[in-house]
Symmetry: C2
Subunit: 195 residues, 2 copies
């Protein structure tokens, strides 16, 4: 009913240990979460939501590999990202893949722009929720509602402010079009900096 569209790419990252950069102003996720929805009523309107919940009650540190390092810090209630196409009919959701390209992650607890707030060195797992529009209002009242939820373990990641694992950095550079400037084009590309 909620299927990961780009599972193969996520799997490559998962094998190495996915890391996601978080910044004060907000950073996109790469890979992007993309899902295919099915089994919805074509004429009912739905909201599609994303949240990120702690995947492990530990803090992590990196030393040749990711190691547990004490208890996780207490988390604020997770923010929820509403897919910008919401609300839309089941037919519209099922027609194309649903991409969460625009969601941004931040470590700024004072963020005012609705980005998802995470704690660095902690591990999160993305969850996607599909809820009928008629039940959506009830969410904010804590009323019981019917929600279809899927958690994607293969998409779990550790939030970082700078990449720890060089192999993760390289995998990002190789696959993210925006990082093309760091790919080696035949000969080694050296980046310069003047101060």
């Amino acid at each position: 009913k909620i299927a990961l569209e780009n599972a193969e790419l996520w799997q490559q990252f998962h094998q190495i240990g996915t890391e996601m950069i978080i910044t004060k102003l907000g950073r996109r996720m790469f890979p992007t979460l993309k899902v295919n929805l099915s089994g919805l009523d074509p004429n009912t309107k739905y909201f599609v939501l994303l949240d990120l919940v702690l995947a492990d009650d530990s803090r992590f540190r990196f030393n040749a590999g990711w190691l547990r390092s004490g208890k996780a810090e207490p988390q604020w209630p997770s923010r929820i990202y509403t897919h910008p196409d919401s609300p839309a009919t089941g037919a519209q959701w099922m027609k194309h893949e649903v991409s969460f390209q625009k969601v941004k992650l931040t470590n700024n607890t004072m963020d005012q722009q609705g980005h998802l707030v995470l704690t660095s060195m902690h591990k999160y797992v993305p969850r996607i929720h599909v809820i009928a529009a008629s039940d959506y209002a009830s969410l904010h009242w804590g009323m019981p509602t019917t929600i279809n939820t899927a958690a994607f373990n293969v998409c779990s990641f550790i939030a970082v402010t700078a990449y720890a694992n060089d192999r993760m950095t390289q995998l990002k550079i190789d696959n993210n079009p925006f990082a093309k400037g760091f790919r080696e084009n035949g000969q080694l590309r050296v980046k310069k900096r003047q101060l």
Copy 2:
């Protein structure tokens, strides 16, 4: 209740005779239509719509100035552009200016992307409609509904495939950030082309 936000800029264009480029793939409007809404119920949800209707039952031609030149061609029913923030509460609409930056104009009658289809050498006037979400469904059934509509004569324009009036071209270059490359920076900027 529906007030033009950037009326001064539009007035400058109107004095010369506003032209808007239309292309097969769709072209934005410049200036952008921006309005401030007021008097809405903060808790009611509304749709905000834009359409472009014939402002003059003539075809036009340019010869040192814009001249009427025969009858207007018969028009298809005008397409309607729904502001992408729709539906939203009155409070949300009134909080910020409402910009129609992303609407695109085309001369392609076969357009499949929902762009507004116009006929070159014809004059149009933009209209903005605010309608309660509860009445929105009735629109498609031709039922009587309450719609708050405003037409902006100062924003009327002639659709063209290339600018006719050099002063109009210059005014676009001077004000549209995307045309900065054509501004004269101290010395005359000459653009080259190899074939």
